[in-house]
Symmetry: C2
Subunit: 268 residues, 2 copies
């Protein structure tokens, strides 16, 4: 059972993990970055507690900690109970979700493991926006994608805003970095994946004709602006497009991803 | 050609339309609301200039007004040129898109007209979030939906944030209010539409089996939390679901809409 401690002093060093949240979750390889994994709100905190990330502590108002009581049984971490006012002074802004948990980063899965243990993968290139990244994880979880490979130029999925937009699914959908890019895509081919590259170009196969619900498939998704690099499209087995009104700017990458993920799923 | 006037005085009454933007776009039926249609950024301003809404004026920094020069030829509205500092003091916050246009609301289309002139429609119930609403318009425009009917409990698509998230497509995709709700759905049936209701319930037909790319189709989409009301689902011809991982909260309504819109489009 989590130990609940009341905290009334904003400067209490026990809650330092939660101080100035806007910087606490900076990546460890950046100046001042600590790289903590931060979950906001009861649903996402529950997912963090259920995840492989080692939880360090919780901070929350009484009502939210009470709502988590079932999840806190059998968890040996301190839970700091604060008033809403003390909470916003610790974190540096008003946070209306009322509860937070922090965890350390943890090794989760290797790219090779993820590739060999999966059937449907999404591979991202240049997705630098944390909200798009989080939304892609949420959509992947909902639509049966087994894991996500991060190619060149992607943002950090464990950044707080990404975790929040993913509804905590960043903590559940396995992901790994593909270090060689785009050369590392060869590992997918070696494991029998067909690699589809999503692109607006007119010569690409229409999604509904591409048969992506058959066999092992990995879909490459690029950022909204420039899309996938030429080299990346060349490294794929087939370019695929979503038929679109030519007068309209491309879809949001997470939305386009959702359409493709649904097409990849054979589920009825 | 738009007449360009330099404005250096924050209190200049000619730019009153742009003052305290956060309130200027409130709906005319709300206290203090003026209901102006406000476009932000060059792309969305261009779409407003191309729309049926009567543009009143533009406000922008030199660089952005210059970028719009082609669009401003043949447009007889004042364009107020300001410094970035004066601009943020007028609008009440820093707006990094650098250009705004305001227009009056205009009668666009009746529900009956929209229904009789279309083949694929989206019908929304309880979509109260402006960003979701805007994203639905963007996705509808991209994926070939002819128009949007607003049923009960929807937010105002012409609110600034909704226009922005739609990338201006709120100004292009025709929409109309269905006053009787859900009784007004009968008009769709009278015009030969099949009405599909998106719901997570297990007994609904799977989207890929529903044949929504055939004939006249209207899809009902509800808000993320409660979904469609029972009465609304009963008024539809067929409940349809997107196969989903049962452990995952539902998809975002605009994302779910995009998946359905793609299925409705026969385009290859």
């Amino acid at each position: 059972m989590a130990r609940v401690h009341e905290v009334t002093d904003v400067d209490d060093p026990r809650v330092d993990d939660f101080r100035d949240l806007a910087t606490a979750d900076r990546r460890p390889d950046r100046p001042g970055g600590r790289g903590l994994v931060i979950a906001e709100g009861t649903v996402v905190v529950e997912r963090l507690l259920d995840s492989p990330y080692p939880v360090r502590a919780l901070l929350g108002v009484r009502k939210r900690l009470d709502a988590l009581a079932d999840h806190l049984t059998g968890v040996d971490v301190p839970a700091y109970e604060v008033s809403a006012d003390v909470m916003s002074r610790i974190v540096g802004f008003h946070l209306n979700r009322g509860v937070l948990a922090v965890a350390d980063r943890a090794h989760t899965v290797d790219a090779d493991e993820l590739i060999s243990g999966s059937r449907r993968l999404a591979v991202l290139e240049g997705v630098g926006d944390h909200e798009n990244l989080g939304a892609l994880f949420r959509n992947a979880a909902a639509l049966g994608i087994d894991g996500i490979l991060l190619g060149g130029g992607c943002a950090d999925p464990l950044y707080r805003r990404s975790i929040r937009v993913s509804m905590g699914h960043v903590l559940r959908v396995p992901f790994a970095h593909l270090d060689a890019w785009p050369g590392g895509l060869r590992t997918l081919t070696e494991h029998g994946y067909r690699i589809a590259a999503l692109t607006p170009r007119a010569t690409a196969a229409s999604l509904r004709d591409a048969g992506l619900d058959q066999g092992r498939v990995a879909v490459l998704l690029g950022s909204e602006g420039p899309g996938l690099a030429e080299d990346t499209i060349s490294a794929a087995d087939l370019p695929v497009r979503i038929p679109m009104n030519p007068e309209v700017d491309s879809l949001n990458v997470a939305t386009a991803g959702a359409i493709v993920f649904h097409a990849m799923s054979g589920a009825r």
